[in-house]
Protein backbone atom coordinates (compact mmCIF):
# COMPACT_ATOMS: atom_id res chain seq x y z
CA UNK A 1 0.00 0.00 0.00
CA UNK A 2 1.33 3.41 -0.91
CA UNK A 3 1.38 5.81 1.98
CA UNK A 4 1.00 9.53 2.39
CA UNK A 5 3.65 11.43 0.51
CA UNK A 6 3.90 8.89 -2.28
CA UNK A 7 1.06 10.92 -3.76
CA UNK A 8 0.34 14.62 -3.95
CA UNK A 9 -2.23 15.67 -1.36
CA UNK A 10 -4.40 18.60 -2.39
CA UNK A 11 -6.19 19.29 0.83
CA UNK A 12 -9.21 21.30 1.90
CA UNK A 13 -9.08 20.49 5.56
CA UNK A 14 -10.81 21.96 8.59
CA UNK A 15 -9.10 23.26 11.70
CA UNK A 16 -10.51 24.51 14.98
CA UNK A 17 -9.17 25.21 18.44
CA UNK A 18 -9.69 27.14 21.62
CA UNK A 19 -7.94 28.00 24.86
CA UNK A 20 -9.54 28.90 28.17
CA UNK A 21 -7.02 31.46 29.35
CA UNK A 22 -8.37 31.24 32.89
CA UNK A 23 -7.25 27.59 32.95
CA UNK A 24 -10.79 26.25 33.11
CA UNK A 25 -10.75 22.68 31.85
CA UNK A 26 -13.60 21.37 29.69
CA UNK A 27 -14.26 18.00 28.14
CA UNK A 28 -13.87 17.22 24.44
CA UNK A 29 -17.50 17.50 23.42
CA UNK A 30 -17.31 21.20 22.43
CA UNK A 31 -14.30 20.79 20.15
CA UNK A 32 -15.92 17.76 18.53
CA UNK A 33 -19.08 19.78 17.90
CA UNK A 34 -17.04 22.61 16.39
CA UNK A 35 -14.97 20.49 14.01
CA UNK A 36 -18.02 18.40 13.05
CA UNK A 37 -19.79 21.52 11.78
CA UNK A 38 -17.20 21.75 9.01
CA UNK A 39 -17.71 18.16 7.87
CA UNK A 40 -17.73 19.19 4.19
CA UNK A 41 -14.09 20.19 4.61
CA UNK A 42 -13.11 16.59 5.51
CA UNK A 43 -13.66 13.30 3.72
CA UNK A 44 -13.34 10.72 6.47
CA UNK A 45 -9.69 9.88 5.82
CA UNK A 46 -8.26 11.60 8.86
CA UNK A 47 -9.26 13.33 12.06
CA UNK A 48 -7.37 14.25 15.17
CA UNK A 49 -7.14 16.28 18.34
CA UNK A 50 -4.60 17.59 20.81
CA UNK A 51 -5.57 18.38 24.39
CA UNK A 52 -3.60 20.20 27.10
CA UNK A 53 -4.02 19.75 30.83
CA UNK A 54 -5.51 16.26 30.57
CA UNK A 55 -3.10 14.34 32.81
CA UNK A 56 -2.76 16.38 36.02
CA UNK A 57 -2.05 13.22 38.03
CA UNK A 58 0.98 12.50 35.81
CA UNK A 59 1.92 16.07 34.93
CA UNK A 60 5.62 15.59 35.70
CA UNK A 61 5.96 12.61 33.37
CA UNK A 62 6.22 12.60 29.60
CA UNK A 63 3.01 11.11 28.27
CA UNK A 64 4.08 8.95 25.33
CA UNK A 65 1.13 8.17 23.06
CA UNK A 66 2.17 5.40 20.70
CA UNK A 67 0.76 3.68 17.68
CA UNK A 68 1.86 0.13 16.83
CA UNK A 69 0.99 -1.70 13.67
CA UNK A 70 1.79 -5.07 15.28
CA UNK A 71 2.91 -6.73 18.50
CA UNK A 72 6.51 -7.00 17.40
CA UNK A 73 6.88 -3.25 17.04
CA UNK A 74 5.33 -2.82 20.48
CA UNK A 75 7.81 -5.23 22.04
CA UNK A 76 10.74 -3.46 20.38
CA UNK A 77 9.57 -0.04 21.57
CA UNK A 78 8.84 -1.24 25.09
CA UNK A 79 12.37 -2.58 25.30
CA UNK A 80 13.72 0.75 24.16
CA UNK A 81 11.57 2.59 26.69
CA UNK A 82 12.57 0.32 29.56
CA UNK A 83 16.24 0.86 28.74
CA UNK A 84 15.95 4.61 28.81
CA UNK A 85 13.08 5.49 31.13
CA UNK A 86 11.48 4.89 34.42
CA UNK A 87 7.84 4.00 33.67
CA UNK A 88 5.35 5.39 36.15
CA UNK A 89 2.27 3.95 34.43
CA UNK A 90 1.31 2.27 31.17
CA UNK A 91 -2.00 1.47 29.65
CA UNK A 92 -3.91 0.93 26.47
CA UNK A 93 -5.42 4.22 25.34
CA UNK A 94 -9.13 3.76 26.15
CA UNK A 95 -11.32 3.59 23.06
CA UNK A 96 -14.91 2.69 22.34
CA UNK A 97 -16.35 0.92 19.36
CA UNK A 98 -17.45 3.26 16.58
CA UNK A 99 -18.96 1.67 13.49
CA UNK A 100 -17.38 4.00 10.95
CA UNK A 101 -13.86 3.52 12.29
CA UNK A 102 -12.05 0.62 10.65
CA UNK A 103 -9.39 -1.58 12.13
CA UNK A 104 -7.26 0.53 14.44
CA UNK A 105 -3.59 -0.07 15.20
CA UNK A 106 -2.56 -0.89 18.78
CA UNK A 107 -2.76 2.33 20.79
CA UNK A 108 -0.78 2.60 24.00
CA UNK A 109 0.38 5.27 26.37
CA UNK A 110 3.29 5.34 28.79
CA UNK A 111 3.97 7.93 31.49
CA UNK A 112 7.73 8.06 31.71
CA UNK A 113 10.70 9.96 33.02
CA UNK A 114 14.18 9.54 31.51
CA UNK A 115 16.76 7.65 33.57
CA UNK A 116 19.29 10.16 34.93
CA UNK A 117 22.19 7.88 34.06
CA UNK A 118 21.04 7.77 30.45
CA UNK A 119 20.80 11.55 30.18
CA UNK A 120 24.24 11.96 31.74
CA UNK A 121 25.66 9.42 29.34
CA UNK A 122 24.19 11.28 26.38
CA UNK A 123 25.39 14.72 27.57
CA UNK A 124 22.17 16.22 26.26
CA UNK A 125 19.39 18.24 27.81
CA UNK A 126 16.37 16.21 28.85
CA UNK A 127 14.29 17.69 26.02
CA UNK A 128 16.96 16.86 23.42
CA UNK A 129 17.20 13.35 24.83
CA UNK A 130 13.41 12.99 24.46
CA UNK A 131 13.47 14.38 20.92
CA UNK A 132 16.16 11.94 19.88
CA UNK A 133 14.18 9.04 21.31
CA UNK A 134 11.03 10.09 19.43
CA UNK A 135 13.02 10.35 16.20
CA UNK A 136 14.60 6.97 16.85
CA UNK A 137 11.27 5.19 17.36
CA UNK A 138 9.71 6.80 14.29
CA UNK A 139 12.75 6.19 12.15
CA UNK A 140 14.03 2.78 13.16
CA UNK A 141 11.19 0.71 14.61
CA UNK A 142 9.12 -0.57 11.75
CA UNK A 143 5.40 -0.02 12.37
CA UNK A 144 5.77 2.07 15.53
CA UNK A 145 5.07 5.79 15.63
CA UNK A 146 4.99 8.34 18.42
CA UNK A 147 1.66 10.16 18.34
CA UNK A 148 2.64 12.59 21.08
CA UNK A 149 5.38 13.00 23.66
CA UNK A 150 4.66 16.06 25.82
CA UNK A 151 3.82 16.50 29.48
CA UNK A 152 0.23 16.82 30.65
CA UNK A 153 -0.98 16.72 27.04
CA UNK A 154 -1.84 14.18 24.40
CA UNK A 155 -2.73 13.77 20.75
CA UNK A 156 -5.49 11.47 19.54
CA UNK A 157 -5.72 10.81 15.83
CA UNK A 158 -6.72 8.29 13.24
CA UNK A 159 -8.51 7.50 10.02
CA UNK A 160 -12.12 8.67 10.07
CA UNK A 161 -14.17 11.81 10.37
CA UNK A 162 -12.94 13.87 13.32
CA UNK A 163 -16.22 13.57 15.23
CA UNK A 164 -15.98 9.77 14.97
CA UNK A 165 -12.32 9.80 16.00
CA UNK A 166 -13.31 11.93 19.01
CA UNK A 167 -15.99 9.42 19.93
CA UNK A 168 -13.59 6.51 19.40
CA UNK A 169 -11.02 8.02 21.76
CA UNK A 170 -13.70 8.90 24.37
CA UNK A 171 -12.65 12.55 24.40
CA UNK A 172 -15.75 13.40 26.42
CA UNK A 173 -13.88 11.80 29.33
CA UNK A 174 -10.86 14.15 29.22
CA UNK A 175 -10.66 17.66 30.68
CA UNK A 176 -8.40 20.18 28.95
CA UNK A 177 -7.84 23.95 28.96
CA UNK A 178 -6.77 23.88 25.28
CA UNK A 179 -8.27 21.73 22.55
CA UNK A 180 -7.25 21.77 18.90
CA UNK A 181 -8.77 19.67 16.14
CA UNK A 182 -8.38 18.72 12.52
CA UNK A 183 -10.59 17.20 9.83
CA UNK A 184 -8.68 15.90 6.87
CA UNK A 185 -9.39 15.84 3.12
CA UNK A 186 -6.63 13.89 1.36
CA UNK A 187 -8.42 13.26 -1.91
CA UNK A 188 -6.10 10.87 -3.68
CA UNK A 189 -4.10 9.01 -1.09
CA UNK A 190 -4.91 6.24 1.35
CA UNK A 191 -4.99 7.96 4.73
CA UNK A 192 -3.16 6.19 7.53
CA UNK A 193 -3.26 6.61 11.28
CA UNK A 194 0.19 8.14 11.59
CA UNK A 195 -0.50 10.57 8.75
CA UNK A 196 -3.51 12.17 10.43
CA UNK A 197 -3.06 15.52 12.19
CA UNK A 198 -1.96 16.79 14.69
CA UNK A 199 1.77 16.37 14.22
CA UNK A 200 3.63 16.69 17.49
CA UNK A 201 6.95 16.82 19.24
CA UNK A 202 7.31 17.25 23.01
CA UNK A 203 4.61 19.79 23.97
CA UNK A 204 4.13 21.07 20.42
CA UNK A 205 1.19 20.00 18.29
CA UNK A 206 0.25 21.31 14.86
CA UNK A 207 -2.90 21.01 12.77
CA UNK A 208 -2.81 22.37 9.26
CA UNK A 209 -5.02 23.18 6.31
CA UNK A 210 -3.08 23.59 3.08
CA UNK A 211 0.09 22.48 1.41
CA UNK A 212 3.69 23.16 2.32
CA UNK A 213 5.24 23.51 -1.15
CA UNK A 214 8.64 24.18 0.44
CA UNK A 215 8.62 20.80 2.24
CA UNK A 216 11.85 19.64 0.57
CA UNK A 217 13.81 22.78 1.47
CA UNK A 218 12.42 22.84 5.02
CA UNK A 219 13.17 19.16 5.49
CA UNK A 220 16.80 19.46 4.36
CA UNK A 221 17.33 22.36 6.77
CA UNK A 222 15.76 20.52 9.71
CA UNK A 223 17.71 17.34 9.01
CA UNK A 224 20.91 19.27 9.66
CA UNK A 225 19.66 19.75 13.23
CA UNK A 226 18.93 16.07 13.77
CA UNK A 227 15.21 15.99 12.98
CA UNK A 228 14.03 13.03 10.96
CA UNK A 229 10.98 13.35 8.73
CA UNK A 230 9.33 9.93 8.92
CA UNK A 231 5.60 10.52 8.72
CA UNK A 232 5.61 11.52 5.04
CA UNK A 233 3.25 14.44 5.42
CA UNK A 234 4.24 18.06 4.88
CA UNK A 235 2.85 19.28 8.21
CA UNK A 236 5.50 17.33 10.10
CA UNK A 237 8.11 20.00 9.23
CA UNK A 238 6.05 22.71 10.94
CA UNK A 239 6.16 20.97 14.32
CA UNK A 240 9.93 20.46 14.12
CA UNK A 241 10.58 23.97 12.78
CA UNK A 242 8.78 25.50 15.75
CA UNK A 243 10.65 23.22 18.15
CA UNK A 244 13.97 24.33 16.62
CA UNK A 245 13.13 28.03 16.58
CA UNK A 246 11.43 28.39 19.95
CA UNK A 247 12.80 25.66 22.21
CA UNK A 248 16.34 25.31 20.88
CA UNK A 249 17.08 28.73 19.40
CA UNK A 250 14.97 30.60 21.97
CA UNK A 251 13.09 32.85 19.54
CA UNK A 252 9.87 34.32 20.92
CA UNK A 253 6.88 32.60 19.32
CA UNK A 254 5.85 35.89 17.69
CA UNK A 255 9.17 36.00 15.82
CA UNK A 256 9.06 32.30 14.96
CA UNK A 257 5.76 33.09 13.20
CA UNK A 258 7.61 35.73 11.15
CA UNK A 259 10.11 33.08 10.08
CA UNK A 260 7.44 30.61 8.96
CA UNK A 261 5.38 33.34 7.25
CA UNK A 262 8.09 35.91 6.57
CA UNK A 263 6.96 39.38 5.52
CA UNK A 264 7.50 40.01 1.80
CA UNK A 265 10.64 41.98 0.95
CA UNK A 266 8.64 44.95 -0.27
CA UNK A 267 6.85 45.06 3.09
CA UNK A 268 10.18 44.80 4.94
CA UNK A 269 11.55 47.70 2.85
CA UNK A 270 8.92 50.01 4.31
CA UNK A 271 9.52 49.17 7.99
CA UNK A 272 11.38 51.44 10.44
CA UNK A 273 15.14 50.78 10.43
CA UNK A 274 15.34 48.55 13.54
CA UNK A 275 12.51 46.28 12.42
CA UNK A 276 13.80 46.22 8.86
CA UNK A 277 17.13 45.04 10.20
CA UNK A 278 15.53 42.36 12.39
CA UNK A 279 13.30 40.91 9.66
CA UNK A 280 16.13 41.03 7.13
CA UNK A 281 18.33 39.04 9.52
CA UNK A 282 15.55 36.52 10.20
CA UNK A 283 15.04 35.94 6.49
CA UNK A 284 18.77 35.57 5.89
CA UNK A 285 19.38 33.13 8.76
CA UNK A 286 16.14 31.15 8.52
CA UNK A 287 15.27 31.50 4.82
CA UNK A 288 15.04 27.70 4.60
CA UNK A 289 12.29 27.57 7.22
CA UNK A 290 9.96 29.88 5.29
CA UNK A 291 6.81 27.86 4.64
CA UNK A 292 5.85 28.42 1.05
CA UNK A 293 2.40 27.61 -0.23
CA UNK A 294 -1.08 28.01 1.20
CA UNK A 295 -1.60 27.25 4.87
CA UNK A 296 -3.54 28.01 7.97
CA UNK A 297 -2.25 26.27 11.08
CA UNK A 298 -3.02 26.04 14.77
CA UNK A 299 -0.08 25.29 17.05
CA UNK A 300 -0.77 23.98 20.52
CA UNK A 301 1.82 24.17 23.29
CA UNK A 302 1.95 23.94 27.04
CA UNK A 303 0.09 27.01 28.29
CA UNK A 304 -1.07 28.38 24.95
CA UNK A 305 -2.00 28.20 21.31
CA UNK A 306 -1.10 30.08 18.16
CA UNK A 307 -2.94 30.37 14.84
CA UNK A 308 -1.15 31.53 11.71
CA UNK A 309 -1.86 32.01 8.01
CA UNK A 310 0.51 32.06 5.07
CA UNK A 311 1.48 35.63 4.24
CA UNK A 312 -0.95 36.09 1.38
CA UNK A 313 -3.79 34.28 3.15
CA UNK A 314 -4.55 31.46 0.78
CA UNK A 315 -6.47 29.51 3.43
CA UNK A 316 -9.29 30.69 5.71
CA UNK A 317 -8.79 31.63 9.36
CA UNK A 318 -11.17 33.33 11.76
CA UNK A 319 -10.54 34.28 15.39
CA UNK A 320 -12.93 35.26 18.16
CA UNK A 321 -12.99 35.73 21.86
CA UNK A 322 -15.61 35.45 24.54
CA UNK A 323 -14.80 35.98 28.20
CA UNK A 324 -11.49 34.28 28.88
CA UNK A 325 -11.70 32.00 25.84
CA UNK A 326 -9.91 32.55 22.53
CA UNK A 327 -11.31 30.64 19.53
CA UNK A 328 -9.69 30.07 16.13
CA UNK A 329 -11.15 28.09 13.22
CA UNK A 330 -11.37 27.76 9.46
CA UNK A 331 -14.93 29.13 9.54
CA UNK A 332 -16.80 31.51 11.81
CA UNK A 333 -19.73 29.11 11.96
CA UNK A 334 -17.50 26.52 13.68
CA UNK A 335 -16.92 29.01 16.49
CA UNK A 336 -20.55 30.14 16.72
CA UNK A 337 -21.64 26.52 16.90
CA UNK A 338 -20.10 26.29 20.39
CA UNK A 339 -20.29 29.96 21.38
CA UNK A 340 -23.23 31.61 19.57
CA UNK A 341 -22.78 35.09 21.03
CA UNK A 342 -19.02 35.63 20.82
CA UNK A 343 -17.99 39.12 21.93
CA UNK A 344 -15.70 39.81 19.01
CA UNK A 345 -14.90 38.12 15.70
CA UNK A 346 -11.91 39.09 13.58
CA UNK A 347 -10.01 37.91 10.55
CA UNK A 348 -6.24 37.69 11.08
CA UNK A 349 -4.16 38.99 8.19
CA UNK A 350 -1.78 36.75 6.30
CA UNK A 351 1.34 36.17 8.38
CA UNK A 352 -0.15 37.78 11.49
CA UNK A 353 -0.05 35.32 14.40
CA UNK A 354 -2.94 35.06 16.87
CA UNK A 355 -1.59 33.90 20.21
CA UNK A 356 -3.48 32.99 23.38
CA UNK A 357 -1.74 32.12 26.62
CA UNK A 358 -2.90 31.01 30.03
CA UNK A 359 -3.07 33.87 32.49
CA UNK A 360 -0.13 33.76 34.86
CA UNK A 361 -2.21 32.84 37.87
CA UNK A 362 -3.88 29.88 36.13
CA UNK A 363 -0.52 28.81 34.68
CA UNK A 364 0.80 28.51 38.25
CA UNK A 365 -2.31 26.76 39.49
CA UNK A 366 -2.18 24.14 36.72
CA UNK A 367 1.49 23.38 37.20
CA UNK A 368 1.39 23.41 41.01
Amino acid sequence: MLREGDYRVPSGCAISGFINKDGRRVDGSAIIQSIALMQERSNGLGGGFAAYGIYPEYKDYYALHLLFEDKLSRNLVEELIKDNFYIEAEDRIPTRHVRSIGKAPLLWRYFVTPRLSKIEESKETEADFMTRLVMRINDSVNGAYVVSSGKNMGAFKGVGYPEDIGEFFRLDEYQAYTWIAHGRFPTNTPGWWGGAHPFTLLDWSVVHNGEISSYGANRRFLEMYGYKMTLQTDTEVVAYAIDLLVRRHKLPLELAARVLAAPLWQVIDRLPAAERDLYTRLRVVYGSLLLNGPFSIIVGFSGGLMALNDRIKLRPLVAAFHGATLYVASEEAAIREICPDVERVWYPQGGEPVIGRLEEESQCRLSA
Binding site: L37, I312, V318, E331, E332, E337, V345, Y347
Partner: protein
Protein backbone atom coordinates in the same frame (compact mmCIF):
# COMPACT_ATOMS: atom_id res chain seq x y z
CA UNK B 1 -43.94 35.02 4.00
CA UNK B 2 -42.57 31.69 5.20
CA UNK B 3 -40.15 31.08 8.05
CA UNK B 4 -37.73 28.18 8.26
CA UNK B 5 -35.66 27.17 11.27
CA UNK B 6 -32.29 26.09 9.90
CA UNK B 7 -30.87 24.93 13.23
CA UNK B 8 -28.83 21.75 12.81
CA UNK B 9 -30.10 21.20 9.26
CA UNK B 10 -27.50 19.95 6.78
CA UNK B 11 -26.86 22.24 3.86
CA UNK B 12 -28.45 19.69 1.53
CA UNK B 13 -31.67 19.54 3.55
CA UNK B 14 -31.84 23.30 4.00
CA UNK B 15 -31.32 24.00 0.31
CA UNK B 16 -33.88 21.34 -0.63
CA UNK B 17 -36.46 23.07 1.61
CA UNK B 18 -35.62 26.47 0.16
CA UNK B 19 -35.92 25.28 -3.41
CA UNK B 20 -39.16 23.44 -2.75
CA UNK B 21 -40.72 26.52 -1.14
CA UNK B 22 -39.58 28.79 -3.97
CA UNK B 23 -40.76 26.32 -6.61
CA UNK B 24 -44.17 26.38 -4.95
CA UNK B 25 -44.46 30.13 -5.36
CA UNK B 26 -43.04 31.42 -2.05
CA UNK B 27 -41.92 35.01 -2.67
CA UNK B 28 -40.41 35.80 0.68
CA UNK B 29 -38.59 33.40 2.98
CA UNK B 30 -37.02 34.01 6.38
CA UNK B 31 -34.26 31.62 7.49
CA UNK B 32 -33.58 31.55 11.21
CA UNK B 33 -30.57 30.10 13.05
CA UNK B 34 -28.46 29.61 9.97
CA UNK B 35 -24.94 28.54 10.92
CA UNK B 36 -22.42 27.48 8.32
CA UNK B 37 -24.81 25.90 5.79
CA UNK B 38 -23.20 26.31 2.39
CA UNK B 39 -24.58 27.18 -1.03
CA UNK B 40 -27.70 29.05 0.13
CA UNK B 41 -29.39 30.45 -2.97
CA UNK B 42 -26.85 28.74 -5.18
CA UNK B 43 -27.97 28.43 -8.77
CA UNK B 44 -31.48 29.61 -7.94
CA UNK B 45 -33.30 31.67 -10.58
CA UNK B 46 -36.19 34.01 -9.80
CA UNK B 47 -37.17 37.21 -8.03
CA UNK B 48 -37.92 35.92 -4.52
CA UNK B 49 -36.39 37.37 -1.38
CA UNK B 50 -34.47 35.45 1.31
CA UNK B 51 -33.76 36.87 4.72
CA UNK B 52 -30.97 35.08 6.61
CA UNK B 53 -30.41 35.34 10.36
CA UNK B 54 -27.08 33.89 11.46
CA UNK B 55 -23.89 33.07 9.59
CA UNK B 56 -24.48 31.50 6.15
CA UNK B 57 -21.73 29.14 5.00
CA UNK B 58 -19.35 29.40 2.07
CA UNK B 59 -20.55 30.17 -1.45
CA UNK B 60 -23.69 32.02 -0.45
CA UNK B 61 -25.52 33.04 -3.66
CA UNK B 62 -23.06 31.18 -5.87
CA UNK B 63 -24.28 31.13 -9.49
CA UNK B 64 -27.42 32.86 -8.24
CA UNK B 65 -29.68 34.34 -10.88
CA UNK B 66 -32.01 37.04 -9.62
CA UNK B 67 -32.85 36.51 -5.92
CA UNK B 68 -32.49 39.18 -3.28
CA UNK B 69 -30.72 37.89 -0.18
CA UNK B 70 -30.36 39.95 2.97
CA UNK B 71 -28.05 38.63 5.71
CA UNK B 72 -28.34 39.80 9.31
CA UNK B 73 -24.94 38.55 10.44
CA UNK B 74 -21.53 37.89 8.93
CA UNK B 75 -21.03 35.89 5.76
CA UNK B 76 -18.14 33.53 5.04
CA UNK B 77 -15.93 32.89 2.00
CA UNK B 78 -17.04 33.10 -1.61
CA UNK B 79 -20.22 35.20 -1.41
CA UNK B 80 -21.67 35.58 -4.91
CA UNK B 81 -19.21 33.16 -6.51
CA UNK B 82 -19.94 33.36 -10.28
CA UNK B 83 -23.25 35.07 -9.50
CA UNK B 84 -25.23 36.06 -12.58
CA UNK B 85 -27.95 38.38 -11.28
CA UNK B 86 -29.70 39.51 -8.10
CA UNK B 87 -28.73 41.38 -4.95
CA UNK B 88 -26.94 40.30 -1.76
CA UNK B 89 -27.09 42.67 1.22
CA UNK B 90 -24.89 41.76 4.19
CA UNK B 91 -25.27 43.65 7.47
CA UNK B 92 -22.00 42.27 8.85
CA UNK B 93 -18.67 41.31 7.28
CA UNK B 94 -17.80 39.02 4.40
CA UNK B 95 -14.51 37.10 4.24
CA UNK B 96 -12.24 36.10 1.34
CA UNK B 97 -13.04 36.00 -2.38
CA UNK B 98 -16.42 37.75 -2.19
CA UNK B 99 -17.66 38.18 -5.76
CA UNK B 100 -15.29 35.56 -7.15
CA UNK B 101 -15.84 35.47 -10.95
CA UNK B 102 -19.06 37.39 -10.49
CA UNK B 103 -20.67 38.30 -13.81
CA UNK B 104 -23.78 40.24 -12.85
CA UNK B 105 -25.87 41.46 -9.94
CA UNK B 106 -24.90 43.45 -6.87
CA UNK B 107 -23.34 42.73 -3.45
CA UNK B 108 -23.53 45.28 -0.61
CA UNK B 109 -21.45 44.61 2.51
CA UNK B 110 -21.94 46.92 5.48
CA UNK B 111 -18.81 45.85 7.35
CA UNK B 112 -15.37 44.72 6.18
CA UNK B 113 -14.38 42.26 3.49
CA UNK B 114 -11.48 39.79 3.34
CA UNK B 115 -8.77 39.08 0.80
CA UNK B 116 -9.23 38.96 -3.00
CA UNK B 117 -12.63 40.62 -3.25
CA UNK B 118 -13.82 40.68 -6.86
CA UNK B 119 -11.14 38.28 -8.09
CA UNK B 120 -11.76 37.45 -11.77
CA UNK B 121 -14.95 39.53 -11.83
CA UNK B 122 -16.10 40.19 -15.38
CA UNK B 123 -18.64 42.19 -17.42
CA UNK B 124 -20.23 41.80 -20.82
CA UNK B 125 -22.48 44.39 -22.48
CA UNK B 126 -25.42 44.92 -20.10
CA UNK B 127 -24.10 42.50 -17.44
CA UNK B 128 -22.13 44.69 -15.03
CA UNK B 129 -21.49 43.28 -11.56
CA UNK B 130 -21.10 45.64 -8.61
CA UNK B 131 -19.67 45.17 -5.10
CA UNK B 132 -19.88 47.89 -2.46
CA UNK B 133 -18.02 47.52 0.85
CA UNK B 134 -18.76 49.83 3.77
CA UNK B 135 -15.58 49.17 5.76
CA UNK B 136 -12.14 48.04 4.66
CA UNK B 137 -10.90 45.27 2.38
CA UNK B 138 -7.92 42.92 2.54
CA UNK B 139 -5.00 42.34 0.15
CA UNK B 140 -5.44 41.68 -3.58
CA UNK B 141 -8.60 43.76 -3.86
CA UNK B 142 -9.83 43.32 -7.47
CA UNK B 143 -7.18 40.74 -8.34
CA UNK B 144 -7.25 39.73 -12.04
CA UNK B 145 -10.41 41.79 -12.35
CA UNK B 146 -11.72 41.83 -15.92
CA UNK B 147 -14.87 43.93 -15.62
CA UNK B 148 -17.49 45.40 -13.32
CA UNK B 149 -17.22 47.86 -10.44
CA UNK B 150 -15.79 47.71 -6.91
CA UNK B 151 -16.58 50.52 -4.47
CA UNK B 152 -14.75 50.71 -1.12
CA UNK B 153 -16.03 53.25 1.39
CA UNK B 154 -13.81 52.92 4.49
CA UNK B 155 -16.49 53.96 6.96
CA UNK B 156 -15.72 53.63 10.68
CA UNK B 157 -11.97 53.11 10.23
CA UNK B 158 -9.91 53.26 13.40
CA UNK B 159 -7.06 55.78 13.48
CA UNK B 160 -4.10 54.35 11.60
CA UNK B 161 -6.19 51.61 10.00
CA UNK B 162 -5.72 51.25 6.22
CA UNK B 163 -8.81 51.19 4.01
CA UNK B 164 -7.33 48.49 1.79
CA UNK B 165 -4.54 45.90 1.88
CA UNK B 166 -1.54 45.48 -0.40
CA UNK B 167 -1.46 44.60 -4.10
CA UNK B 168 -4.74 46.28 -5.11
CA UNK B 169 -5.72 45.33 -8.64
CA UNK B 170 -2.82 42.96 -9.27
CA UNK B 171 -3.35 41.50 -12.74
CA UNK B 172 -6.38 43.72 -13.31
CA UNK B 173 -7.23 44.20 -16.98
CA UNK B 174 -10.80 45.53 -17.04
CA UNK B 175 -13.44 47.19 -14.89
CA UNK B 176 -12.99 49.95 -12.34
CA UNK B 177 -12.34 50.37 -8.63
CA UNK B 178 -13.48 53.37 -6.60
CA UNK B 179 -11.88 53.95 -3.21
CA UNK B 180 -13.11 56.71 -0.97
CA UNK B 181 -10.27 59.10 -0.11
CA UNK B 182 -6.63 58.87 -1.16
CA UNK B 183 -4.77 55.61 -1.64
CA UNK B 184 -1.02 55.55 -1.18
CA UNK B 185 0.57 54.25 -4.39
CA UNK B 186 2.41 51.64 -2.33
CA UNK B 187 -0.84 49.69 -1.99
CA UNK B 188 -1.40 49.45 -5.74
CA UNK B 189 -0.45 46.48 -7.86
CA UNK B 190 1.71 47.06 -10.92
CA UNK B 191 -1.20 46.83 -13.35
CA UNK B 192 -3.37 49.73 -12.11
CA UNK B 193 -3.19 53.50 -12.13
CA UNK B 194 -5.14 56.10 -10.15
CA UNK B 195 -7.17 58.68 -12.06
CA UNK B 196 -9.73 61.29 -10.93
CA UNK B 197 -13.35 60.14 -11.41
CA UNK B 198 -15.19 61.76 -14.34
CA UNK B 199 -18.49 63.65 -14.01
CA UNK B 200 -20.30 60.53 -15.25
CA UNK B 201 -18.49 58.47 -12.56
CA UNK B 202 -19.62 60.95 -9.90
CA UNK B 203 -23.19 60.60 -11.09
CA UNK B 204 -23.02 56.81 -10.89
CA UNK B 205 -21.36 56.92 -7.47
CA UNK B 206 -24.28 59.05 -6.22
CA UNK B 207 -26.65 56.31 -7.30
CA UNK B 208 -24.55 53.45 -5.90
CA UNK B 209 -23.86 55.11 -2.56
CA UNK B 210 -27.53 56.16 -2.44
CA UNK B 211 -28.56 52.49 -2.66
CA UNK B 212 -25.96 51.48 -0.08
CA UNK B 213 -27.13 54.17 2.36
CA UNK B 214 -30.74 53.13 1.88
CA UNK B 215 -30.03 49.45 2.63
CA UNK B 216 -28.11 50.25 5.79
CA UNK B 217 -29.91 53.37 6.94
CA UNK B 218 -26.97 55.77 6.49
CA UNK B 219 -26.63 59.29 5.12
CA UNK B 220 -25.42 59.19 1.52
CA UNK B 221 -24.43 62.88 1.47
CA UNK B 222 -22.02 62.37 4.33
CA UNK B 223 -20.38 59.44 2.57
CA UNK B 224 -20.18 61.31 -0.73
CA UNK B 225 -18.66 64.40 0.88
CA UNK B 226 -15.24 62.79 0.63
CA UNK B 227 -13.81 62.50 -2.92
CA UNK B 228 -13.09 59.10 -4.47
CA UNK B 229 -9.99 57.76 -6.16
CA UNK B 230 -10.63 55.78 -9.31
CA UNK B 231 -8.36 52.90 -10.28
CA UNK B 232 -8.24 51.51 -13.79
CA UNK B 233 -5.91 49.03 -15.46
CA UNK B 234 -3.05 50.27 -17.61
CA UNK B 235 -4.03 47.90 -20.38
CA UNK B 236 -6.19 44.95 -21.30
CA UNK B 237 -3.45 42.34 -21.52
CA UNK B 238 -1.02 42.96 -18.67
CA UNK B 239 0.76 39.66 -19.18
CA UNK B 240 0.51 39.61 -22.98
CA UNK B 241 4.26 39.92 -23.39
CA UNK B 242 5.32 38.00 -20.29
CA UNK B 243 6.60 34.97 -22.18
CA UNK B 244 7.16 36.64 -25.57
CA UNK B 245 10.72 37.54 -26.47
Amino acid sequence: METLNAKSLSYQALNDYIRTLLDNGCRELVLKNVNGQRYIGAGVRGRARLEIHGVPGNNLAALMDGLEIEVFGNAQDGVGNTMNDGTVIIHGNATDIAGYSMRGGRIFIRGNAGYRVGIHMKAFRYKKPLIVIGGKAGDFFGEYMAGGTLVLLGLDLQPGEAIVGNFVGTGMHGGEIFIRGQVDSFYLGKEVKAVPPTAADQERLREIVGDFARYFDLEAEKILARPFTKLIPYNKRPYGTLYAY
